[in-house]
């Protein structure tokens, strides 16, 4: 505690929040992204007090202020666990596409018959798994950290802002803006489908900068014109199927494209 009082940032005393990391149905990659920022990891760890992080530490405490929750929710047990976390945390951040929208896991929901996915993988062996849900479909969420995976710089910036009491602003504009700023050649010129025109920015156009079209992992930007985007994609020769594959991949665009779901028996 003494240490938290003495730390300062730009001369301002720093508040050192107690943070916890939790994972539900996911690849746990977003948590790893936090350990993946080797050059700033130690600074980051000095900003917060990590009290619960199963993937990295054995000690655990239920006394925390910020809970970072990764993964989608698929079982009753997960719902119970999530509700307890919500009760303990002052701030609950949904971290990554699985937590924000269901992520790739929610592609399971497109089967008309929920039992068919189970049968495909497990045959007649009983397995507990319901429809895939985003964290906010189960409990209230205070903060969303978008991306599959989350951008390690962005999550550090968010935590820094919490610690110094600065507001957190997520871009409302689409990835295209960042892509243009990075002076990339438009991927449509390479014949590559891309959801850059409609996806929320903040990733610094990571995929298009690597010449891979955007799959919309950060969900829709604000006031997107999905119809116009589809028209442009069609004009560029991309099939309906390709467009839907991208739009439904991470779950962020689902509310804007309901009718197309459930194509598979």
């Amino acid at each position: 505690m003494a240490e938290s009082r003495t730390r300062t940032y730009l001369g301002v005393p720093l508040y050192r929040p107690r943070v916890a990391f939790f994972e539900f149905s996911s690849c746990e990659g977003c948590q790893l992204q936090i350990l993946n920022n080797e050059s700033t990891l130690l600074d980051f760890l000095s900003l917060v007090e990590v009290v619960n992080f199963r993937e990295a530490m054995t000690e655990r405490s239920e006394d925390y202020e910020i809970a970072f929750v990764e993964g989608s929710i698929t079982t009753e047990e997960e719902i119970k666990r999530l509700k307890k976390i919500r009760k303990n945390a002052k701030t609950l951040a949904a971290m990554g596409s699985c937590a924000c929208f269901g992520g790739v896991n929610q592609l399971k929901n497109r089967f008309r018959n929920p039992a068919s996915a189970k049968r495909e993988v497990y045959g007649s062996h009983p397995v507990d798994s319901g429809p895939v849900r985003a964290v906010e479909d189960v409990v209230g969420v205070d903060l969303r950290i978008y991306g599959c995976p989350i951008s390690k710089d962005e999550v550090e910036k968010i935590v820094l802002h919490i610690a110094i009491g600065k507001s957190i602003v997520v871009p409302k504009y689409p990835v295209c803006m960042e892509c243009k700023r990075n002076e990339n050649i438009c991927l449509f010129e390479f014949g590559e489908p891309c959801l850059g025109p409609v996806t929320r920015a903040g990733c610094d156009s990571w995929c298009p900068s690597n010449r891979a079209g955007c799959w919309g992992c950060r969900g829709p930007a604000e006031d997107v014109n999905l119809r116009q985007m589809r028209k442009i994609m069609e004009e560029n020769g991309f099939s309906e199927e390709t467009i839907i594959d991208r739009l439904e991949c991470f779950g962020g665009f689902l509310s804007l494209m309901k009718p197309e779901r459930g194509r598979h028996g």
Partner: protein, 424 residues
């Protein structure tokens, strides 16, 4: 001497995913020892059904947050095998370099951030930042280098973007490769210092004979594709992977289990090393010998050491790979893809062992069947058998709860399990 003891770890920490350990010893007799996997399934094999071929690497890479590059490369190879695409030399070398750097990143994460605290009597790496800052910084330096190469060659350290069926969306610049080569040469010293530190620890003296399964090296230590081999003498072709894995369901686990010649088998660094020791780089072999690690080693805790040995191997081999790439003229980054009807299988050695992806396509290149067999899934039965043997051995010795709890956790951790991956 205490002869009654209960261990109940729910869930095990410092591993990827959710698994529980339960051990009950009464009056010096083992009553129960169970490794159970409670991870929730995500149904990747069902999700891909009906999807076009280009979804496969993008989506299945998301099976795992640690070895996403391995999954992506296995997926790409399976699609290419189905479509009859043979990657050129340049693509093969870049993929292997990328693979090596994932191995280095993953092994370093496991050894220094997850395992090291057990030997330093801490619950995590965090207190070690203060007490053993030098070690943590060295580990972070190695991991950062490996991740930086993955960012550059694969387009991201996690869930890569440049890796596609047919090759890469774009190539690294030669000056970047040159810089990585210099940094790789530098970290050999860091690895040697780490191995000096690890040599001071005494690993639990526990052995249980088992079967080891891996790719079979022909001229090199194997990583991407080739025949399958076991230390019990089984030898099969890549496309016969189902006969090598024989998946089945058990009550205590949402992950499938596997078997081959006996009740269980092991995959991973130790299995690779046991089956392909002669193909290790001389510098890596030297490190192995300094730990008295030679084939066939049956102590599962030695998987940690095998990972350290592989770190040295992949660093040395990556330097040569980069030299060869720098000496060659770069050609086109990718070749054209023509989908066709058929089945494609890929076997790739990822950090935790041999990984298989298999897809069946219709004539439009849509997936009609998908199957992924994960390394940790192949290890679960072996972990269970080891846990029983370990608990039985210690039951008669009369260890206290805490001691047995630590040993059991260290045993499972030695396998570096990737549990959510195994359930997928």
């Amino acid at each position: 001497m205490k002869k009654t003891c209960t261990v109940n770890i729910r869930p095990l920490t410092r591993v990827e995913g959710h698994g529980n350990i339960r051990i009950k010893i009464r009056n010096g007799k083992l009553q129960e020892a169970e490794w159970s996997v409670v991870e929730t399934p995500r149904f990747f094999e069902a999700i891909l059904k009906g999807k076009k071929w280009d979804n496969a690497p993008w989506i299945t890479g998301r099976i795992c947050g640690i070895c996403s590059i391995g999954h992506t490369l296995a997926s790409i190879r399976a699609v290419e095998n189905a479509f009859g695409i043979v990657p050129d030399e340049q693509t093969r070398k870049l993929r292997l370099l990328l693979k090596h750097m994932e191995t280095l990143q993953s092994h370093t994460l496991h050894l220094c951030f997850l395992v090291l605290p057990d030997f330093m009597n801490t619950g995590s790496v965090f207190p070690l930042i203060k007490s053993h800052g030098d070690v943590v910084l060295r580990a972070a330096k190695i991991k950062k280098l490996a991740n930086d190469v993955c960012d550059c060659v694969g387009g991201r350290r996690l869930h890569p973007t440049r890796t596609v069926v047919g090759g890469f969306t774009m190539l690294p610049e030669k000056r970047q490769l040159h810089e990585f080569s210099e940094r790789l040469k530098e970290i050999t010293e860091d690895l040697m210092l780490l191995s000096g530190l690890i040599r001071e620890f005494s690993l639990p003296d526990f052995e249980r004979e088992t079967e080891f399964v891996s790719l079979k090296g022909e001229n090199d230590y194997p990583f991407i594709g080739g025949d399958l081999v076991s230390s019990d003498g089984v030898h099969m072709k890549e496309h016969d992977y189902k006969k090598m894995t024989n998946e089945y369901m058990v009550k205590q686990s949402t992950s499938k289990w596997c078997r081959l010649s006996r009740g269980s088998f092991a995959v991973g660094a130790l299995a690779r090393l046991n089956n392909n020791f002669d193909f290790l780089h001389p510098a890596a072999r030297e490190v192995a010998e300094s730990f008295d690690l030679k084939p066939v080693t049956h102590n599962p805790f030695m998987n940690n050491i095998a990972q350290l040995v592989e770190c040295v191997h992949v660093v040395k081999e990556s330097v040569s790979l980069i030299d060869e790439l720098l000496d060659s003229e770069f050609g086109e980054p990718r070749q054209e893809v023509r989908p066709r009807k058929g089945v494609g299988v890929a076997a790739v050695e990822v950090p935790r062992g041999i990984l298989y992806h298999c897809y069946r396509f219709d004539d439009k290149g849509n997936i009609t069947k998908c199957d992924c067999v994960i390394p940790t899934g192949q290890n679960h039965a072996n972990i269970q058998h080891d846990l029983e043997a370990l608990a039985r051995e210690y039951a008669s010795k009369g260890k206290d709860d805490r001691e047995l709890e630590l040993l059991a956790a260290m045993l499972v951790r030695a396998y570096d399990p990737c549990i959510s991956c195994s359930v997928h």
